[in-house]
Amino acid sequence: MGLKRDVSLMTALRYKGQGPFLTYILHRIGGLGMAVFISIHLLASFLGGSGGRFVNNIYQNWAFQIFIFFCVLFHAINGLRITILDLFPKLIEYHRQAITIEWAAFLAIYGFAVFNIIRTALGG
């Protein structure tokens, strides 16, 4: 009896009072994105042929580059924070500060990268 315990993603995202729940979701998206990309990329390169080339050409596309670089960079920076805090639990008291620094670093590097990718794409 009673309602199900399921929590939909929308409900989860609407939950307030989150710690850096957003970073948790983005970290996951980043990791997943990379893993899927790498698998397909490896397979495509291995099989080669026109199909393989077609797939690998998508990766040269600037829009895809912006996406995958987001995955890589966010996952890497956030992963570094998690690793450091996990290995030194004492530092967890400063997790809010860590997250602020993390976002600052991410936005700076990612902004620079997006700017560059678009400039290259526009042939500049």
């Binding site: 009896m1 009673g2 309602l3 199900k4 315990r5 929590v7 409900t11 989860a12 609407r14 939950y15 307030k16 009072g17 989150q18 710690g19 850096p20 729940f21 948790y24 979701i25 970290h27 998690i82 805090l85 996990d86 290995l87 639990p89 004492k90 967890i92 008291e93 997790h95």
Partner: protein, 235 residues
């Protein structure tokens, strides 16, 4: 002052799904949200169901979502959340009626942690207390504060996704014993927590720490447990 309170309602004997009701009551900014709920129940709709007892944040009965996040209704004042209040049951446990959820799985996880002092050696021969220095006592002070309200576990995205995860509250309990210098069951508990549904399910989302009404630094405690698993250091 007028307080508008929107409450999640679900009557298992009539409804198949929940809905919201809005009530307007006369209250004061210094009222607890619990007082407002009592007022609604007392004056407007007696069938409203929620748990409460101590009314001052010590018994852990009344964890619920207030304006979208977990709080104890008795430790949240109207002045902190405003006069437009939304109250919903916590997430991740079955709703049994209105704001009451099934706490069974939560307590089952607690029991899994062997939540009692394990020390097979007889107490000192003089019959007196087992000695413990103030520093050793301080080591686990934080996690002795837990009132088992479930605010943490029901705010954890990992628990939402997977109800088999033991959850932060259970790990807090394990921490209380693992780091107690008198206890000798650390190894058993660490082994239980090293299973797939143990600490591996914690992805340091921090929702738990934010939600804890007793201000326990839960994520830190979990981190310490994980490190104890790797390094074996219990001090």
């Amino acid at each position: 002052m007028e307080i508008t309170i929107k409450i999640f309602r679900y009557d298992p004997e009539k409804d198949t799904r929940g809905h919201y009701e809005t009530y307007v009551v006369e209250g004061d900014t210094n009222d607890r949200v619990l007082d407002v709920l009592e007022l609604v129940k007392g004056k407007t709709d007696g069938s409203l169901a929620f748990r409460r007892s101590c009314a001052h944040g010590i018994c852990g009965s009344d964890a619920m979502r207030i304006n979208g996040r977990n709080h104890l209704a008795c430790k949240t004042l109207v002045r902190d959340v405003g006069t437009n209040i939304t109250v919903e049951p916590v997430l991740g446990l079955k709703v049994q009626k209105d704001l009451i959820v099934d706490m069974g799985p939560f307590f089952d996880n607690y029991k899994m942690m062997l939540p009692y002092l394990i020390n097979e050696n007889p107490p000192p021969a003089d019959g007196k207390e087992r000695l413990q220095s103030p520093e050793q006592r301080a080591r686990f002070d934080e996690t002795t504060k837990c009132i088992l309200c479930a605010a943490c576990t029901t705010s954890c995205p990992s628990y939402w996704a997977n109800g088999d995860y033991y959850g932060p509250a259970a790990i807090v309990t394990a921490h209380r014993f693992i780091f107690d210098s008198r206890d000798e069951g650390a190894s058993q508990r660490l082994h239980i927590l090293s299973e797939t549904d143990g600490t591996a399910r914690c992805h340091t989302a921090y929702n738990c720490t934010e939600a804890c009404p007793r201000d326990i630094k839960i994520t830190k405690a979990i981190g310490e447990v994980k490190m104890a698993m790797v390094t074996g250091k219990l001090d």
